[in-house]
């Protein structure tokens, strides 16, 4: 570390095979802690307040909407026969899908040894937790009489009745609550060493006490790291099947029913791919402005953005394939109801919803094939928002369009959301952004220890890590 750069002899591969380093400009471990901690230690920036005040106001609006809904009844929403699942379930699936990218980044990419994940995993995991919080509101509230929500849990009622475990809705209760709990555990385990970093550099007693309390007395002992790394690996190994199961079970809420448009076996993989697609859209939407505002360009580099765009492209193409396959199977099934359901999606009264979905999810992300597009942050930002618009419409298409034309024409209807639907949805953004802004102001937004671990300084065999030039080991 102390050697001047000119003395270092590193045998680099030929230029065309070189990759951009994960941390740009040869930043040292000390620079990484200082940079990340400065986001928490410095004076609150003005842009933070500009974002925080409207977010907390929207969160207050959400609270008002929920009180209004609980005290009045589900009738304040647009849900009505035949569209009994409206914006509540659309938004539930949409938010929980967004959460999936966080777990993909933190767990699956960890198992696949994708070292670039360290720069974005902390923020993505926080996004997961807050998105699942927003999602959880809807199933809890849409039952109407929320004071009976506890019937969903395996607690005996006064009638001696138990929940019916053949219902995918019961599976959902277990899947979503496990997902939330394990995401929080995984996030917290990752935070422990970084909280210790914050504890050791805090100037004020209060901060030292609080960060110290949650750092659990972490010292950076290698005997601890050894157990810690194993626990982290196991948590990643457990979260991987978890994240795949959660959206599969969410999709079974639909697929297990008999409704044309819902009753398809492609749903689990198609939902999981769509969830990761929308989650990466949200990660890009959040991190593009943040890396600029927090001056994290050396940690979240252009290479990271490039890779995330490619994942978005891949999952978006899987989703596009699923749309095509749904249509094919509807035709191939020979069932008139199936065929009608799908032709009605594209040409029926909600045709605009279907074509918004197709353009945002299948057509626009194809622009990510071009390197010029992946390197233009403005285009990436706009496309990342379009991805989430498209994924919202996907859930709209699946839920509302399938429900509004049932088997019997006498059961047909047209769904229109109410102002309460719209304000509740906008309010969940308030909750999400309020939580995210508080997170980035008080906790390490970048996994400090992990990012240090992917720099050459951490490698005892690299000259920067102190290995002697030409010295055998």
């Amino acid at each position: 570390m102390s050697q001047p750069e000119a003395m270092l002899k590193v045998h680099l591969p030929p230029t065309e095979l070189q990759r951009m380093p994960l941390v740009a400009n040869q930043r040292s471990p000390a620079w990484i802690s200082d940079r990340v901690a400065s986001l928490v230690e410095g004076k609150t920036p003005r842009w933070w307040w500009i974002a925080f005040i409207p977010s907390s106001m929207a969160m207050t609006m959400l609270l008002g909407m929920l009180v209004w809904q609980v005290s009045t009844g589900v009738g304040v929403w647009g849900n009505n026969h035949p569209v009994m699942w409206g914006w509540d379930i659309i938004n539930f699936v949409w938010w929980i899908g967004i959460g999936h990218a966080g777990t993909l980044i933190s767990a699956i990419l960890f198992l696949l040894r994708q070292r670039w994940r360290t720069a974005v995993n902390r923020a993505a995991e926080a996004m997961t937790i807050f998105a699942v919080m927003c999602a959880g509101i809807y199933p809890a509230l849409h039952v109407g009489r929320i004071w009976f929500d506890w019937w969903l849990f395996p607690i005996p009622t006064s009638n001696g009745l138990w929940p019916q475990f053949r219902s995918p809705l019961m599976w959902d209760v277990f899947a979503v609550s496990t997902y939330f709990t394990v995401s929080v555990l995984f996030w917290y385990v990752g935070l422990i060493p970084d909280l210790a970093t914050f504890r050791d550099r805090s100037k004020s007693k209060v901060r030292q006490f609080l960060y110290g309390l949650f750092a659990l007395g972490w010292t950076g002992s290698n005997r601890h790291w050894s157990n810690y790394e194993k626990a982290y690996l196991i948590l990643a190994g457990l979260s991987t099947p978890l994240v795949l199961s959660v959206h599969s079970i969410v999709s079974l809420d639909f697929a297990v029913s008999q409704l044309p448009g819902w009753h398809t076996t492609i749903f689990p993989p198609y939902f999981v791919a769509g969830a990761i697609f929308s989650g990466f859209g949200m990660v890009l939407t959040l991190l593009l402005p943040l890396r600029k505002l927090c001056k994290l360009e050396d940690i979240i580099t252009m290479r990271h953005i490039d890779v995330m765009c490619k994942v978005t492209l891949a999952t978006g193409s899987i989703v596009g394939y699923a749309y095509g396959m749904e249509f094919f199977i509807a035709w191939y099934s020979g069932s008139d109801y199936e065929r009608f359901a799908f032709i009605n999606r594209a040409t029926g009264p909600y045709w605009w919803g279907y074509w918004t979905m197709i353009s945002c999810n299948v057509i626009f992300p194809q622009l990510f094939w071009f390197k010029k597009v992946r390197q233009n942050l403005w285009i990436v930002f706009v496309l990342s928002i379009l991805v989430n618009v498209g994924m919202w419409f996907e859930r709209f298409v699946i839920i509302v369009i399938s429900l509004h034309r049932e088997f019997l024409p006498s059961n047909w209807g047209y769904f229109v959301p109410t102002w309460v639907d719209v304000c509740t949805y906008l309010g969940t953004f308030g909750l999400f952004f309020t939580c995210f802004l508080l997170f980035m102001r008080f906790l390490p937004m970048i996994a400090i220890a992990e990012v240090k671990g992917v720099t050459p300084y951490s490698d005892p065999h690299h000259p920067v890590g102190g290995a002697k030039v030409g010295g055998g080991h």
């Binding site: 394990v182 002992s221 005997r223 300084y457 951490s458 102190g466």
Partner: protein
């Protein structure tokens, strides 16, 4: 520093990952048992340099997972097939297939708790106080420095010889830490 206070151990500071790895190898080969290495991030190859065995966290996670799966299956059988059986769609009272998804989720839930609490138990955390945290320089262990500590409770510990060993590893700063 009064002579009656028993020292906690000798603390040696290093600047690079390579230096601490070589130092750890030397201390391991000198036969010390009660010693440790402190680093801001896990150093690749350090477990071998210290002679550590594979971590036992996996057993805790396995135990948690197995408990979760068993609890899930038994709970659903008890509720839907034993305590209050209701025929649903003419299907069997208990089927492992319908009971699988909740049991699967419980496997993961308790497995994750097993991994977390197993890790904390093996590390003897949470811990509110540690003698090393009294050393001012030691705060850099979570920043960008590497430390090696040989505890005075080690049977091979002898202040002068241990200090010589640490000096021979190339440490630029060695200090005695009080308990």
């Amino acid at each position: 520093m009064s002579a009656t206070v028993k020292p906690y151990g000798l603390l040696a500071e290093f600047e690079t990952a390579a230096e601490i790895t070589h130092a750890a190898e030397k201390v391991r080969d000198a036969g010390y048992r009660q010693w440790d290495v402190f680093s801001p991030f896990p150093v690749h190859g350090m477990d071998r340099a210290m002679g550590l065995k594979n971590s036992k966290v996996g057993w805790f996670a396995f135990l948690g997972g197995a408990t979760g799966y068993t609890i899930g299956m038994l709970m659903i059988w008890f509720m839907n097939a034993f305590d209050y059986p209701i025929i649903i769609g003419g299907k069997p009272m208990f089927s492992p297939f319908a009971a699988f998804p909740p049991s699967y989720e419980l496997t993961i839930l308790l497995g994750a708790f097993g991994a977390l609490f197993g890790m904390l138990f093996l590390n003897r955390l949470p811990r509110l106080h540690h003698p090393l945290l009294k050393s001012r320089r030691f705060a850099l262990a979570t920043h960008d420095r590497f430390f090696l500590v040989i505890e005075s409770s080690d049977p091979n510990y002898a202040e002068n010889e241990t200090r010589k060993l640490l000096e021979s590893t190339g440490s630029r700063h060695i200090e005695l830490v009080e308990d």
